[in-house]
Symmetry: C2
Subunit: 321 residues, 2 copies
């Protein structure tokens, strides 16, 4: 029978290309230049001393064909990233939000990715106008007021594929580098570990008449290494580790910290990620952040706790710099 | 180097399992019973003689892990299906809309899958209330009125995975079967050609430390065959064929017609699908439907033309039954 399995071939690390080779062999996204200009202007417009954060959000796609009909995707609606972006805005940060196209957006996330759409929140007011349905009015007004108040400090940049994401991540990291410890990189996007090099892609839609399909994918280079060492070495870097096997979570999070030398890993399990995460640093025990089911149901997002704790640690980091 | 290639192994058709085996080996979706009840009640509530259409929309996912972090997806926002559903409603049909979760919805499609969300269309009215921003007001009011007028004849059922889709397609087809020629099946969803049997899935998130990844996928059984022959033999069945290689489009569409014996194949190419399609039937030359770039820019959807032509043919089919 078919199976999803890794090849048991040659040792792994030797086969993984380095990040520069990846950039040499892949096309930058169409919005790269425009994103560069927008982010540069946004950083320049912030008052001195205001902290800045890059929040990445949503999953990357890996196309299986050049004329893309199919792709491998990573599970992520963008809940963590979009909610965190709101918390950083509330905490006074300027936020660059690098998100997967059509994933959840700060503030608007409450009203999308649902069965309901815009028209379900509205009704004709009987006088030729439109009003918000009474059952939604209070919540919409409150969210609208928060949004109007904070949106000037929010800049959104979108990606779709893994390559888009990596080019944009490098570009924005390099732009943030001169701001040093004042900036945080909060890497909540679900980034593919595997890719098909673009020159090896099938040109057209893969045909099924030939029977089974076998896909060979390469391991994605570890971009956290140049990010921490080269692109933005003075920034405060937070990465995320999502696993489904509880036994692997801490060792893998610890391994990432040791290997890349960034500041915090937020470790979480797929099925408990909405109420339980661990913050790992090199020099301390894991810090558990947890909310109750009751808090969750009453609309308390765990991102409030994650961001509050990271803002505190970022301040310590920045004042020591 | 890595490559996306098909195995050149044994002849294909012999290896493809039959649809019943697929259903025996996969789990039905959690919403199957609820969908059954809702669709049965919806069909029963329609006045005698009102035509009914099942519109399928959006792409199916194929999970790579049982605790799903990654999946193979088919490119489809659901534009064709959601726009077509509106046209069928305007033409007097009752519409069962079987859609991929979070894909575009009839009427609401104009306001989702965009950078803007609900809050971007609204503003505080300065008197403690909320109003629609003036630049959107006319369009929103017009769409809201259409939606309010037609929504009673629309029933929505959602799917995510390939298995969800196939179980729901069978269930709804069987419920429509007794309505015979009065019903149309309009199969616009982008359905995966390959899958990984659930008992062969990796239990946990596939680890990247081992190096490259090789995925073996089986060909999905051709469900159009039992749908036409067994599930809903008297219904008017329209399938879609999307290709990227122009040379393959007509032969493949023609092959499907000959093989499955349904009524119409709507053939389209990935890059021209928004302004050009061909309707193929067994006994006639392909019928080209085309709109100009200018029409497209002025908001004319080609689905208006596709649905108008299919409604005409469905009437002929129903009166001959």
């Amino acid at each position: 029978m078919s199976t999803a399995s890794k090849t048991q071939a040659a040792p792994a690390e030797r086969k993984v290309i380095d990040p520069d080779t990846y950039f040499d062999h892949n096309q930058p996204p169409a919005n790269l230049q425009q994103a560069h200009s927008a982010v540069a202007a946004f950083i320049g417009a912030q008052e001195a001393g205001r902290p800045i954060v890059l929040v990445t959000s949503g999953g990357t796609t890996v196309p299986l064909e050049n004329n893309t009909v199919r792709f491998v995707d990573n599970f992520s609606a963008g809940t963590r990233g979009s909610s965190s972006a709101e918390q950083f805005l509330e905490a006074g940060y300027a936020v660059v939000f690098l998100y997967r196209e059509h994933s959840l957006q700060p503030f608007n996330r409450q009203y999308s990715h649902r069965t309901e759409g815009l028209l379900d929140y509205l009704q004709p007011d009987g006088r030729g106008g439109i009003s918000v349905r009474p059952e939604y009015k209070e919540r919409v007004l409150s969210d609208l007021n928060r949004y109007e108040q904070l949106r000037a400090r929010l800049l959104k940049v979108s990606f779709t594929t893994l390559a888009d994401y990596l080019f944009l991540l490098r570009e924005i990291s390099l732009l943030l580098a001169p701001t040093g410890a004042r900036s945080m990189l909060y890497l909540a996007a679900a980034v593919s570990d595997f890719f098909i090099p673009s020159h090896s892609l099938a040109e057209h839609k893969i045909q099924s008449a030939g029977g089974d399909l076998t896909l060979h994918m390469n391991q994605v280079p570890k971009f956290l290494r140049p990010l921490v060492k080269v692109w933005a070495p003075a920034c405060f870097v937070v990465s995320f580790k999502l696993e489904t096997d509880p036994g692997l979570l801490e060792p893998k999070a610890r391994h990432a910290l040791d290997k890349y030398g960034h500041h915090v890993v937020v470790a979480n399990l797929l099925h408990t990620r909405k109420w339980q995460v661990w913050l790992l640093t090199r020099d301390a025990d894991p810090c558990l952040l947890q909310i109750s089911q009751d808090q969750l149901l009453r609309g308390h997002d765990i991102e409030q706790d994650i961001v509050a704790e990271l803002v505190r640690r970022h301040k310590v980091h920045a004042s020591a710099a």
